[in-house]
């Protein structure tokens, strides 16, 4: 099912497209520590791709390689069919990649609306002086971007906290605001670092629904890291399993679930 060069059809009938991003033999070292060892996998257009593994397996490092924040010592990241050069964060954003963070990185003192507006930065062309004067071009631009932001606020059902400072929100809502900010950038590839961490069951269910809806509604390709196996298996189309920096499994949730190496990594094996 995965061999077709230009995609596959998921269980629920979605057409997954060609390769968007490909990791080719990535190795990442911090001094003597090997965080990622010779890992290769791809992310296809329109799919929800999960990276799972026990603590310290190198998941977050992997996400940072994908986002271009870490540059691997060996191997190449191919994006849209060509090797990707080293980039500054804003260049990554301009390529249509947005992310959320494991420990929320919002502007705590700003309102939800303002936070989400920052996600539109790449779509603002006026300079600081025009914005200070505001009338004219800057005003039109803000109206246009506000409209895009309001659609996302509506989509994620956070109208009631539009004007609330982020610092006053509970954890689950902050996570949702972070997702909103990432979506405001209208990304082609959305990276989610443990979107469900620390949430209660209800919040997890809500978040899962939003992740699925984002994928369904905007056709966004999503790569996510997650601890909660139940969530991962329900959400994702394909899963990469990492352990001690190595890739030990890759495939559909069912394939991964029945992979002996994965079972060993998660449940542990006796060494006698």
């Amino acid at each position: 099912m995965l061999d077709a060069a230009d995609g596959y059809v998921t269980e629920d009938g979605r057409q997954i497209g060609g390769v968007v991003m490909e990791m080719k033999n990535i190795t990442l070292r911090f001094g003597g520590v090997v965080a990622i060892k010779d890992i290769s996998f791809d992310i296809r257009e329109g799919e929800i791709r999960a990276i799972i593994g026990p603590n310290g397996a190198g998941k977050s490092s992997m996400l940072n390689v994908i986002s271009g924040f870490y540059v691997p010592q060996e191997g190449e990241v191919w994006f849209h069919g060509a090797p990707r050069p080293q980039m500054r964060p804003y260049e990554v954003a301009r390529q249509g990649i947005a992310r959320t963070f494991q420990n929320i990185a919002l502007f705590e003192g700003m309102s939800v609306l303002d936070n989400v507006m920052t996600g539109r930065l790449n779509y603002m062309k006026t300079n600081i002086f025009q914005q200070a004067l505001w009338k004219g071009k800057a005003e039109a631009e803000e109206t246009e971007n506000r409209e895009a932001v309001e659609k996302i606020i509506d989509f994620l059902e956070i109208q009631h906290i539009r004007k609330t400072p982020v610092s006053r929100l509970p954890y689950g809502l902050k996570k949702r605001v972070e997702l909103a900010r990432a979506l405001a950038a209208e990304p082609k590839l959305l990276l989610l670092d443990e979107p469900m961490a620390g949430m209660n069951v209800e919040e997890k269910e809500d978040m899962s629904r939003f992740v699925l809806d984002v994928n369904d509604e905007f056709g966004t390709t999503i790569a996510l890291i997650e601890h909660d196996m139940g969530v991962v298996m329900d959400l994702s189309d394909r899963v990469v399993v990492m352990d001690y920096g190595r890739k030990i499994g890759d495939g559909t949730p069912d394939e991964v679930r029945n992979n002996q190496e994965v079972i060993d990594a998660y449940l542990g094996v006796s060494h006698d």
Partner: protein, 657 residues
């Protein structure tokens, strides 16, 4: 005006009124809805066009005359339009409570035999699909919000806007048929069918005709001089008769603007932004707002607190009199004006009542203290007494004759009588046609002459001619010693305390009264926070000794005030428990309009009531709960039973002598 007016001309149906409004003042705003952070507006002309395309769309999917179309969703213009469009094609709209769980909805759907369902969003569609497995009658599902709907099987499903487009595209084919159907509507055709929430038994479908709705709307609008420039906020359940009369009946009759909030959570913000001139709310809304005001005042600075309490005391004394146009001294007027500048005005603005011209509370009796609070601020809040079966209006309070303890004089064209047992009967143009498919209940409620039994006990006050409601006729009872038992009276007194959300009093036929109390999580939670009291759950908070202590002091105060009333001094609360869960409509303990189902609660918690009477100091109990998605679970708890100090009645008699 020779023969019966019908069809598109005249004022004898909602489509006709829509036509009139669009022709006479097409540019005036008819609907507003906040979406994407801004108020979107539709004029009467635009509304007329939208409703017509929707009606064409209904014809396109095959709606026949006499079909029932269920509407399930929050207050949105599209849902109101769907109801009027349904009338245009000769169908009967049946709005349902959107928070009902699937099995509850299944009963109503089966009973009315709805072939078409208009759903607000995916959540409602899912419920209907669940019902559909056992109910093959449903032919077509329509939905407003497209979100998440892409993957559904659309062979029997469409977005509302898609059928509107289809209807418009095919208008050449349907125009003649639609005009014919509109012209066939008569004054006595069914306008809407509303299900009563029913504090006992299964819901009943109340059939209201165009005559019922339009006559009631006309009379009540004249009574309060409602005009075209009113603004109302529509946030109450669409399945409730009140919302139908205010947001459709009166809105179409007067041609005023209906404003729909962005979501249920933003209602308070939206209320403030709109500042309705005409407002309607059940007591619960006013109670919640008052609770919030009190909480926020407790968090306010010392100066603000003192100013607030000082001027509120003054308002309590003269505010109500000023509103009623009674004589008030010059000094008091001056001080009130100052208070208005410093306290009342800003407070009203914060609450969203800055433009409030006239408003009603109904559905349940309101605590007199709560009522007076709003009136003293200069908010012309009045009471009315009504029922679904009466198309709302039975009695209303005229301006200048507003009191907390009566519900006013008979509304225009309403006749009233009280029978020997004290039960109230009425006859009016608003009297319902029948209960759908239930001739027995129709016959037992409405007699051949058109008199309808309300099920409430009351009396007409000598002199003023105002009606006073004692309680639900079946709830009023006698204590063992023969004195009167009227639970609502005591419950309302207790509910004035911001910490107390709900109270159920028991004692009919017993020698003393006991009570269940629900704490208000917002108020008590806030108090706990300020007092560094940690709690993990609602249940834990209810069992906190300091919470029980506070509630006990409230009960004590209420007992004192109850003892002062000679007729009801037997109703003092001797013992009470603070329940470990909130009474919930999903569990059937209260109705969707938040009225306590006494009998049900009494049966469900029989073990706790027994413990309240047998003198034990605590009771262990397990309670079944229903989650929002319909799953069941259970919670168990050990509840402490608190003895409340009562005022000896004998002492009271001595004092009275």
């Amino acid at each position: 005006m020779a023969q019966t007016q019908s069809g598109a001309e005249g004022t004898h149906s909602l489509p006709a009124l829509l036509h009139r409004n669009a022709a006479q003042f097409g540019d005036a705003p008819a609907y507003r809805e906040k979406e994407f952070g801004i108020w979107q507006c539709w004029s009467w002309a635009e509304t007329s066009a939208e409703v017509r395309s929707l009606a064409l769309g209904f014809l396109e999917v095959g709606v026949e005359k006499g079909d029932h179309i269920a509407v399930i969703g929050r207050n949105r213009p599209a849902h109101y339009w769907a109801m009027v469009a349904a009338q245009m094609v000769g169908a009967v709209p049946v709005p349902l409570y959107q928070d009902a769980v699937a099995e509850e909805m299944a009963y109503v759907m089966e009973h009315c035999g709805a072939k078409y369902v208009v759903c607000g969003d995916q959540e409602q569609v899912d419920k209907v699909i669940e019902i559909q497995e056992n109910l093959s009658q449903i032919k077509h599902i329509l939905y407003t919000d497209k979100r998440g709907m892409r993957k559904y099987d659309h062979s029997q499903m469409n977005a509302l806007e898609d059928i509107m487009a289809d209807g418009n595209a095919g208008h050449a084919r349907f125009d003649a048929e639609l005009d014919k159907r509109i012209s066939e509507i008569t004054y006595d055709d069914t306008c809407v069918m509303l299900y009563t929430s029913g504090t006992t038994g299964k819901p009943k479908g109340v059939v209201l005709s165009n005559r019922n709705v339009i006559e009631s709307a006309k009379n009540s609008a004249d009574f309060d001089h409602l005009k075209r420039d009113e603004d109302i906020l529509s946030y109450l359940p669409m399945a409730w008769v009140g919302d139908f009369i205010f947001s459709i009946g009166q809105a179409y009759w007067c041609g005023f603007c209906v404003n729909c909030p962005e979501s249920a959570e933003t209602m308070m913000t939206d209320l403030r932004e709109i500042g309705p001139t005409y407002f309607f709310a059940p007591p619960r809304v006013f109670e919640t707002q008052l609770t919030n005001v009190m909480i926020r005042m407790e968090d306010a600075g010392k100066l603000k607190q003192r100013m607030f309490h000082h001027f509120m005391a003054h308002a309590k004394r003269v505010g109500g009199l000023l509103l009623d146009g009674k004589p008030v001294g010059f000094g008091d007027r001056l001080k009130y004006a100052l208070g208005n500048m410093l306290v009342y005005g800003p407070l009203k603005d914060t609450l969203g009542y800055g433009r409030f011209r006239v408003g009603y509370t109904a559905g349940e009796a309101i605590g007199p203290e709560i009522f007076d609070f709003y009136r003293s601020l200069g908010i012309n809040l009045k009471q009315l007494y009504g029922q679904t079966e009466a198309t709302v209006f039975i009695t209303v309070q005229p301006d200048g004759e507003v009191r907390a303890d009566t519900v006013g004089v008979p509304a225009p064209d309403v006749e009233l009588k009280i029978d020997d047992t004290g039960e109230i009967y009425y006859r009016s143009p608003g009297v319902f046609v029948e209960y759908f498919k239930n001739p027995d209940s129709t016959a037992s409620t409405k007699d051949a002459e058109g008199w309808v039994a309300t099920g409430d006990a009351g009396f007409i006050e000598e002199g003023s001619g105002h009606l006073r409601i004692i309680d639900r006729a079946k709830d009023v009872g006698k204590m063992a010693d023969g004195s009167m038992f009227a639970p609502k009276y005591v419950e309302n007194k207790l509910k004035f305390y911001p910490d107390i959300l709900e109270v159920v009093l028991f004692g009919n036929g017993k020698d003393r009264c006991v009570a269940f109390i629900n704490i208000d999580l917002t108020a008590v939670g806030n108090w706990a926070e300020r007092n560094n009291i940690a709690y993990g759950s609602y249940q834990e908070l209810t069992a906190n000794p300091r919470v029980l202590e506070t509630i006990k002091s409230h009960v004590e105060e209420v007992n004192k005030s109850v003892a002062a009333d000679e007729m009801l001094s037997g109703c003092q609360v001797h013992r009470f428990v603070v329940l470990h869960k909130e009474l919930d409509a999903d569990d059937g303990e209260i109705t969707r309009t938040r009225k306590v189902r006494r009998g049900f609660v009494e049966d469900k918690y029989a073990d706790i009531i027994a413990a309240l009477y047998d003198g034990s100091s605590s009771v262990s109990t397990t309670t079944e709960v229903t989650y929002e998605d319909g799953r069941k679970g259970s919670i168990s708890a050990t509840l402490e039973i608190v003895d409340a100090p009562v005022v000896a009645v004998a002492q009271h008699k001595v004092a009275a002598e």
